[in-house]
Structures are given as structure tokens and as C-alpha cells.
Symmetry: D3
Subunit: 248 residues, 6 copies
């Protein structure tokens, strides 16, 4: 049995509170158990230099943890003077994942920056950030759609993410910090509302895994992500109506 | 009349929520109007190199704003690779102010780090950080006092801070962002529970001020800080009982 | 048909030249088509601070590209003053992958650093680096074994890596640069000699992929890695004899 | 009695030598006791990006200490790779203070940079820098006025600065290093020729101070600054004639 | 006798392999004994800001060593976050030396960057880099000359470099690492095909040297460089035909 | 004729003022024409890590220019966050040159740091720094000798430096900035009191030079340095008596 009494395929309690921030074009406060992340979406009416003149938009993400989000205090990256490899890896992942469900052409020459700030960390901060950032992005794009007449709606599908892992030969869904630190295999999966994979990042540093184990982990994650996307739909309500739809 | 209908000597609504963080030795969520700051206190059983071997403790502070705490998004200092002068100035101020009411000898060879992370900014983030950080510090020291038998209680007095300013010849208490950006004179004041000044930082870059104006601003700030300290006492309740008291 | 006339499941020509460097404890020059990487292994008789006192060793990797390894010249990271996110992600991956087949306890308190310097890049530099670094590591550990009497041989299995991808609905093995830049799905797989997965990193930023497509990519990579490991065995000859063997 | 036999309200010996540098548009060598600062003013016929297109000028300052300006050698900030918080705080203060007596509109779209390099430090380096930088600025503006026909003279008033402090319950003017390190309360005051405050920065980290003590310190500083401005007028002679005057 | 049995005025075995890199506009693999350097020339059709609008080109160089080019591993400068003084000194030297035989006017508004990456180091890496970089530069300029009709050929002379030194009172040519570390006087000389000096950098940190010793070292280096330039001519063949020639 | 009417072999006016700094163990203010450098020597009773346990001392140097030491203002290296290649090259040269006349064994396990801060620059700042730094070093070593009973006096010879160059086919001594910027050949020479060379750095970027020209430049520099060392002896007086002498 799991330390917090969940069954193997059970998600932690999820909270999705829209609009916690009065300035951002879209924002959401997401809690996945004791993991708490503030996601804000900022719209900028221009694109980075490498995207200029293509008539397309851009989505980018930044990720950070407050120093005392964790059991022991971490030094701030601003004080160190540079981002750690872990932070860069995570923010590249979040941006890439979100772009997979955005029609950059339809978005037009503007950038949306998703800031994912981990207020408290208890495992799964990168997957929770993706799930929350999608909602903040959806709110910001909806806002844009009230001002701009999008020919095609720029969001082509829902998107959420969850972690899965193997602990003592058991495949489990949505690991908390304690479980994560004991897992021999650790996998982060990002999927769309139509059930396709966007990212699979599986690591067996402590114990390489077989193709069978992989299948079990994939099935668990599919199940979990389906539930997460239900919750996103509830949180967005009518704001999510046009996601994946095409206006003719 | 002020944009939010307050009278000239009226503070914004203050919220002080203890224990928002499950890991920190002390933590408080403070809201001063729409300015929201998460303050955490981390206790470390050693002191920085320059304090070693003196039998004394150390209090230090770090300050940061989330990128979208403000109307337009600010680049992260971790991405820039260095702290701005403003950030350094503020965190030096917070640390210095808190140390003024701490008996470092009584605290013993340990460091308490106060992290003040501005979740949303609407003026007065440095003064709100000081007022909140004091409460987080008091919670952490109380925790320590349950484990260690302090001869003298390490906190010698209450401490809070407020901003005052002059707008169109009117002295006002507790400026919000809009007011702050119109103020010709801007002053941050830190005071103790016994009514003494710890820091006065007044600037008249846009309009030098007379000694008379200074007197009015000081009176306003005394009044505001007295109210803030009342609220701190309410929030701390019995935990604050030994502040300023000496065990014999 | 592929631009270089390979069939879909065909690897590029592989060269593995041991001992190109006269100083390193182990070194290999690897070419995978036009991708050329110099891998050196440096043995250091101590471990990094976070591993001290555990009686275990450590394996770490660094990755870099010469500025003109690519079609257009890249600015040196030393001149920029920091590593890019891509570099950090790759060197974390290489280190993690190699550690999965090392018995750190058996290695004892020493660090082996694998430097993977890309002399020329034509796609698959990270997977080629892993395949080459394993050989350099095996040479260095063999050298160590001649001086130290390992109870258990520290290398528990062979390890190699390959990229696979989907281009115009076709799953393909070992993409060169031109193919890589057209691929909708891109996956890097690391496997052991006994056919277990160590890392799977699949990305469908441009086109999410189905579970069926995933299966095809995994099968292709299994096939490719089996061949690569044959070549590693040839290159190592008797030096590889004790890999995965346990002395009693 | 004070270590150097001054009375409580007595300034140290002041030297103001104009034109020590053959290249700068304005320069002054200032000595305040054993504190020696070289101040140069550089005129640049453009403004920083954030000021562009407003038809206004800009004044900025940089501050630095030679490594052996102090009793023990300090590491160069250029070798550390970053400015300390103290340096940033001081150069922000100097710039802000000088701007308070400049009519940026009248100055027109040009920047004047004041470099304050401390050759030897014996307390009061920031206040001495302000007093000296004002003179260098006045020399540079006078030079400009010979080439450009200013409608309004860009300098609206004189400006000087002094430190005051409390040592053993005694308020004192113009602390040297030894006094400064013993002071319980430390205050830097910047005032104009017409007796208005531009900056008040008072700190009682070691001992919070009462409103009465504050009044005494302000009176001392008013007195000291009045004298300093007399010396500035002498040093400038006819060059200072138009300061604060308006041509109609 | 020298450790590798060379006579005092004998160069090490020299290898110059053109075109080791498939992307660069010019490239050469140079070996001088066990010192191995990859030199690539990159042509960029613009000049750095400080050269703009003068109708002239620019030649610049970068130098780096792979971490395990040496007996013990060196930390990467990219990981340190900055270039060492030694690296900067060497790349400034290489650039300056190459520019001495280039007619920047004739080259036109383009930049050629020479990357000298030391694959293995056994003394004389900077002089070997210059000798190799000249050949890579010649290949790149020849390529340019096939596309652009140069009025004057931009390379005005051949250029090569060698080290000389004094060990146990003996002047020697082309020191290897072991010799270099025992030399009391160490000198790097760069000369042109017409026998003129471009750079002389002699250092006697361990033992100042007389004018007589200097003469001997200069004679040795003249002899060595003459041989090196013969080898460059062989390696370039007809490509070098127009070097130093002027079309009318 | 030269712009300042000097003859070809004439030095600029030299000033050497000892003890301009009240804290440093040795200091000198040196002026060579309009080039002005403050040199301070700081004694530290320990050596850097790479020298530990050898029973020997260390001499190191740092060099910097004030931002307005030159005709146009230079950005501070502390603001850029790194040293330029030029600065590193110069401070390595100064340290190396001074070490050539120091018996590090005799000095014992202590470090002397020479700070050369250019207050005003008019050509020859590096050579002037060496000439001045030697005097500051001699003052500091003399001070040390009053407290420690050196068996051998740690300074083995005098040391000075001068620049020479070729302008319009004329070899000239001690170039000022205007001359330096027109020189086709530029050489810095460091010599000892007994007439030996410590450093020769000659550059003919704009025009390679013949061996004959080199001889002329060397003769000029020998002559100039002889005069400079006379001046150093005058400035040091009896303090210089033991330089080069050995106590038995």
C-alpha cells in the first residue's frame, strides 16, 4: 500500500483555481496533493528574433522553485548567477509540450510566456506545471480571441502530464516526493486530449526496465492523464469550448 | 481623495496567514491590499564564515519578485545571471532591519534566513516583506525555543514597516503602486514596538522636501506602524508572548 | 528512399578507433556516418563532495561541440560564459545512462569523467556520444582492473544508444542531420546488452504520436542497438570479457 | 573628545581640486580628511534606451574603490565578476541625488556619467563622492553651456552630502572610519543649497533611535552641508554663477 | 641530447592534412610531434561593429584545448564560465599574427574566424596553431577568390611560427612539453615568408637572458620557420600560388 | 621631430612619489609624462593554494584603468562582469616580470600583491606600471626586512620597463599615446639592473620588421631602462641598498 493510502492507479487530489493573479493575461493556481504551482501566461505582441517575419507565434516557458519549496532550502538560481541543468531541462520540456497543441500560424506574431513557479514541491512539479500551464495558456488565448478574430482557434487539443514509476516491482501513478526518491524507474508522460503522446521521458538509472514494464507504465499514465483533462475541462468551462475546433 | 477611497492616514487591508508552507521552520502569507508576499524562515545550525567562532547567530534575508507579480512581466534575475541593484538594496534592508530586534548572542551559533517572495506587487513590497518576515521569524524562533532552552529570548522587540509619501502636497500613508508612481517624496520607515526608528529612507529625487514635510511623514508612519504591530500581535497570539521579555 | 540510400532499418557506417589520445586512461574515436566524436575517460581517485564517505564511485560526463562541427559556426559556450540548456541536458543524459551499467560500490571511491567532444556533427551526436563513451569507459575500467583487484567487475552490462524517428509517416533508424530536421517524431533510446531500456526520450512537438507508432520505433531501436553492441564487443575484444561477469 | 580632536559639529579638512584629469569634460579631486575621491564627468551626446525620444537628458553615476583604498585589501569587483550590493546601493544613491538638482529637460538628450573612484577611504566615501561629483558635474555643464545655448540652465541648485552618527550617546558630524565602525546610529544626508532634503538614510541596526535623536542628527547635518556648499561655491567661482538661475 | 633524440636545431615531425572538416570554408589538421590541432576557417559576409563602414575585412581567432588534451584533465572554460588569461592571450596573438599578412582592404567587408582546437597538447600549441591556421586561412581565401574577383590577392605573404628556448645553457628549437617545463628562457617567434618578424615574445621569468642568447634564439627560429613555410607550400600546392602576388 | 619635441632616444619626464597611500605596505605614485599610475603593494602572510607547502613566496599583480583614464570613457570591467583579454595579458606580464628579480625561497611563505591602477593613460601604461610596481615592491620588502630577519635579501636585482617603436621608419623611445597609435612596430622591453632581458614583446601587426630594426629597438630600450633604474635608485635611497646583495 502507498504511504498516503492511494491505490496504485490513483491520482492525488487536484485543485485548479483560475485567475489568482490580477495582472496576467491568464493564470491558474494548481495543487496536486502538496505540490503547489502558480502558472501565469503573459502575452507579448512580438516574437523572438529567430521567429521574426514568419507570420507565426511562439510559446515559451520558464520554471522555478521558491527556495523553501522543498524540505531543505535551495540556493536561489539568481544568487548562483545561473540556471541549473535541471531547470533548463524542465522549462524546455514545458515549452515544447505546450507548442505541440498550438497552431503557431493561427496564433499570429505574438509570444505567450508561461511562468511556472513552484510554491511548494512534493513530487511531480514538472508534470503539474504542464497541466497547470495548459489551463493558464487556454485562459490567455481565450482572452486574445475576444479581441482578435482568429480564423482558426490556435489551441488544437487539450494537454496534460503525469508521472509514473516503478517501486518494488509495482507500477504506480502520480508519485509524491517520498515515492519518487525510492522509484527505480521514473517516467514523465505528456498526452493530448485525443490520446496521443507528446513526450515520453523514461529513465531507469537505478534499474533498466523491460518492454513489458514500459507497457504497464504507459497504460497507467494514459488513464491518469484522461482524468486530468476532465478536470481541466471543468475548470475552463465554456472558455474551453473552442479548443480543437476549427471555425470555417 | 485617494483612488481606493482610503483616507490619508489609512492603511490598506492587511492579512497575515501563518504556516502556509509545510516545510519551513516559520512561514507567513501576508497581504497588504493587493501586495502579496510569502515569507519563510529557514533555520540553519551554523553561521556564515565571517561570523564563525563568536558564539553569535545571524539573520539574513533574500527578496525576489515572481516575473508576473507586476503589470508587465519582468525578466527573472536567474535568467539575467545577476541580481539587480534594487533587489540587493532591498534584501540588505530587510536583513538589517530584522537584526535590530534580535539578540544575536542569545540566538546562539545559528542562521535564520528569511525568504520574501513577492507573489503579487501593488506598492510597498519591501515594507510588507519586513512586516511579514518579522512574523515568520517570530514563529521560527518560537519553534527553536521549544527545543532549546534560551537564557534570554532572542527577539527583543516587535518590528514593522510602512511606506509614506507626498502626492500633490499631501502626505499619505501606505502608498499603492499607482500612488507610488506619482509621489514626489517617497519614504520607507521601519520601527520597533517601543516606537523607535530602525530605518528611515526618504528620497525626494523629483522634489526635495522641507523639514516640516519630513515631520508630517514621520508622524504618519508612526501611526501606521503602531497598527501593523497590533495585527502582528493578534496573528502570533501566545507565540509572541516572550518577545522583548527577559528570563532571569 | 533515404537521401543516403540506406534502408529504413539500416545504421550508418560505424567506426570505433581505441586509444586516439596518449594521455587519457581510456579513449575512443567514434564515427557514425559523418558524425565524429572523441570520447576520453579520465580517472580521478576521489569523488565529488555529495558522494563522499559512501564507499562508492561516480561517473560523470561532459559534452561539447567544436564551433565549426556544424554547417554554420556556433559561438563557443566558453565565450558566452555559460552552457546552453541543450548541452546540460545532453551531458546529464550521458552520465545517467553510463551509471546504469556501473556498480558504483564495486568501482570504489573514484570518479571517471567521460568527455565527449563532437569534432563533426551530422545528427545523432548524443546517441553516438553514449555509444563511444561506453567503450572509453570500458577501456579505463579495464586499466583500473589491472592495478586494483576488483571483487566484482564494476561494469555490469554493455550499453549503446541510437536515434529513431518518423518522417513522412515512415519510422526510420539512425537519422542524419537532414532527416532529423524533417522528422515529426524524434526519439533517443539507450539500451543494455541484455535488451533492457535505460532511457527513452521521445518527442512529438510537431506531431503527437500514437502508441502504435511508439511500438514501431522501439522495435527499430532494439534492432539498431543490438548491432551497435556487436561492434563495441569487436572493438573491445578481450578487454570486454569481464563486462557483466561476477567474480566469486 | 574625538580621536582627531575635532569638536562634535566640526567637519574634517576639505580639499576640492578642479581639473585633475586632462580628458574628462569635468573633474575634481576631493579630499575629506584622509578620504580621497577622484570624480570625473563624461558627457555623451545620447541617452540610455529607456529615456529615448523624451527630449530629456540623463545623469548616472558609478562608484568604485581601489583595492587598497582600505586598511586590508579588497578583491576587485572586476575579478569577482560582479558588483557587490553595497556598490550598487551607493551608485544608485549618487545618481538619484544628482538628478534631484538637474533639469533633465533643459539638459537635452545627453547623458552625463559621474565616475567616483575612491583612491583612499577613511569613512564617508559615499557622501564625499556626492559632494565631489556635484562639482565635476557643474564643471561639465558649464563646458556644455559654452557650446550650447541652454534656454534654462540645467542645474537648479547646489547639492552636498555629509554623514552624521551617534557614538556613546553623542551625535557627531562627519564620521571617519574609526568612528563609523563604533557608531550605533549612522545617517547619510543629502541637501540642496536652499536647505531642502534630497535623501535621508538613517540606520539603527545596533540601536534603534528616538525621534529626538533624529532631530539632533538632522540639525548637525544641515550645518555641515551648509559649510560644504560654501566650499563648492569657492571652488567653482564664476563657473557656478548660473546654478539655480533661470534665463528668460 | 634531447629526450626524443632530436638535434638542437631539429623540428619535430610535421603533418598538415587539408580538409578534415566537411563544413568549414577552409580547414587543416596539423600535427607537430604529438601536438595535434584542428584549425578551421569560417567566412562570414560581415564585419564586427568596430570595423563597419571602412570597406575593410577582419581576421579573428579563437583557441581552445579539449579537457584531456593534456596529461591531467583541465576543467572546461565553458564550465568555469570564463576564458582564462592564457587563452585570451593566445587567441589575441593568433589573430594579430594572421592579420599581419592580410590586406584587409583587398579582403573586403567580410570576417574570417580561425578556430584552433587543440586535440592533443605536447608543447608549442600556440605556435602550431598559427602555422596551421595560416593554411586553413589560405584555403578559405582561395575558395573566396573562386567566387569573388579580388583586385589584389588578400594574402600578402606566408606566415609560420615556432618556439625556441634555453635549457641548461643550450638554445633549442621547437620544445616539446617536457622540454618546455624545464626551459629557463622561452620564446615564441612568428615570421613571414620573406623573413621578417611579426611577433617576438620572449620570457626569462626563471632566468633573465643576455643579448647574445637572444641572437642565438632568433637564428634558430629563423631556420625552423623557413622549413615550416616549405611544408605549408607543399601542403597548399597551386592553391598557394597567388600568395604575395599582386594582380594588375 | 616628435610632437612633444623630445629627441628619438629621450624619455618623458618621470615622477616617482613614494607612500601616497596610508594603508599599503608599500606604495608609489608614478608619472611618465601624462601617464599616471598608483602602485600599491599588499603583503599577505600566506600563499595561494598552488604554492602551498613549498616554503616559497609568491608575487602577483593586478592592473586596471579608471574608466575616464582615456580620451573616451571605457566601461568598467566590474560592470561588464569580466576582465578583458588585454587586462589579463598585462597583469600576467607585470607579475611574471617582477618574479624574475625575486628570490621566492628567500621571501618565505607570503604573497605580495601589486595593484597598478592607471589614473590617467597617455601611452606606456604597462611599462610604467612595471617600473612603478618594482618600487612599491621594494618598499614593501624593505618593511618586511625590518620585522623578519631575511637570510638572503629577497630582491635580487633592479627592474624597469619601457616601450619602443617604429614610426615612419624611425625607432623611438617611450611612445606616448599619439605616437603609439601611429607606430608600425611596437615593443615592450623589461630589463634588470645588470642589463639582462626579462621580457621582450614585439609586434609588427601593421608591418613586419627586420632583424636590423629589432637591434635598433633593443639598443634604445637598454638605454632608456638604464636611466629609469637610476631614477628608481634615487627614489628608494638607502631602502634600496640591499637589493641584489647577499648576507652571509
Amino acid at each position: 500500500m502507498r504511504t498516503d493510502k492511494r491505490s496504485l492507479n490513483e491520482l492525488r487530489r487536484l485543485t485548479l483555481k483560475p485567475h489568482p493573479n490580477k495582472y496576467a493575461e491568464g493564470s491558474v493556481w494548481i495543487e496536486m496533493g502538496d505540490t503547489k504551482v502558480l502558472c501565469t501566461a503573459t502575452v507579448d505582441e512580438k516574437v523572438p528574433p529567430f521567429m521574426k517575419g514568419q507570420g507565426k507565434g511562439w510559446i515559451t516557458a520558464e520554471y522555478s522553485m521558491l527556495p523553501r519549496a522543498t524540505q531543505t532550502r535551495n540556493q536561489r538560481e539568481s544568487a548562483k548567477g545561473k540556471l541549473t541543468g535541471r531547470t533548463m531541462e524542465i522549462q524546455r520540456l514545458i515549452g515544447r509540450a505546450l507548442r505541440s497543441v498550438i497552431d503557431l500560424q493561427a496564433l499570429g506574431e505574438r509570444t505567450i510566456t508561461l511562468d511556472c513557479d513552484v510554491i511548494q514541491a512534493d513530487g511531480g512539479t514538472r508534470t503539474t506545471s504542464i497541466t497547470g500551464a495548459f489551463v493558464a495558456l487556454a485562459l490567455a488565448v481565450h482572452n486574445l480571441s475576444l479581441q482578435h478574430n482568429f480564423n482558426r482557434y490556435p489551441i488544437t487539443d487539450y494537454l496534460a502530464s503525469v508521472s509514473v514509476g516503478v517501486i518494488q516491482e509495482q507500477a504506480m501513478l502520480d508519485l509524491n516526493y517520498e515515492e519518487d526518491s525510492k522509484a527505480k524507474v521514473d517516467m514523465n508522460v505528456v498526452m493530448t486530449g485525443t490520446g496521443k503522446f507528446v513526450e515520453i521521458q523514461g529513465t531507469g538509472e537505478d534499474a533498466p526496465f523491460s518492454r513489458d514494464e514500459l507497457q504497464k507504465l504507459l497504460s497507467l499514465s494514459e488513464e491518469g492523464i484522461r482524468t486530468l483533462i476532465e478536470k481541466q475541462k471543468e475548470a475552463l468551462g465554456p472558455v474551453g469550448a473552442r479548443i480543437g475546433a476549427t471555425l470555417v
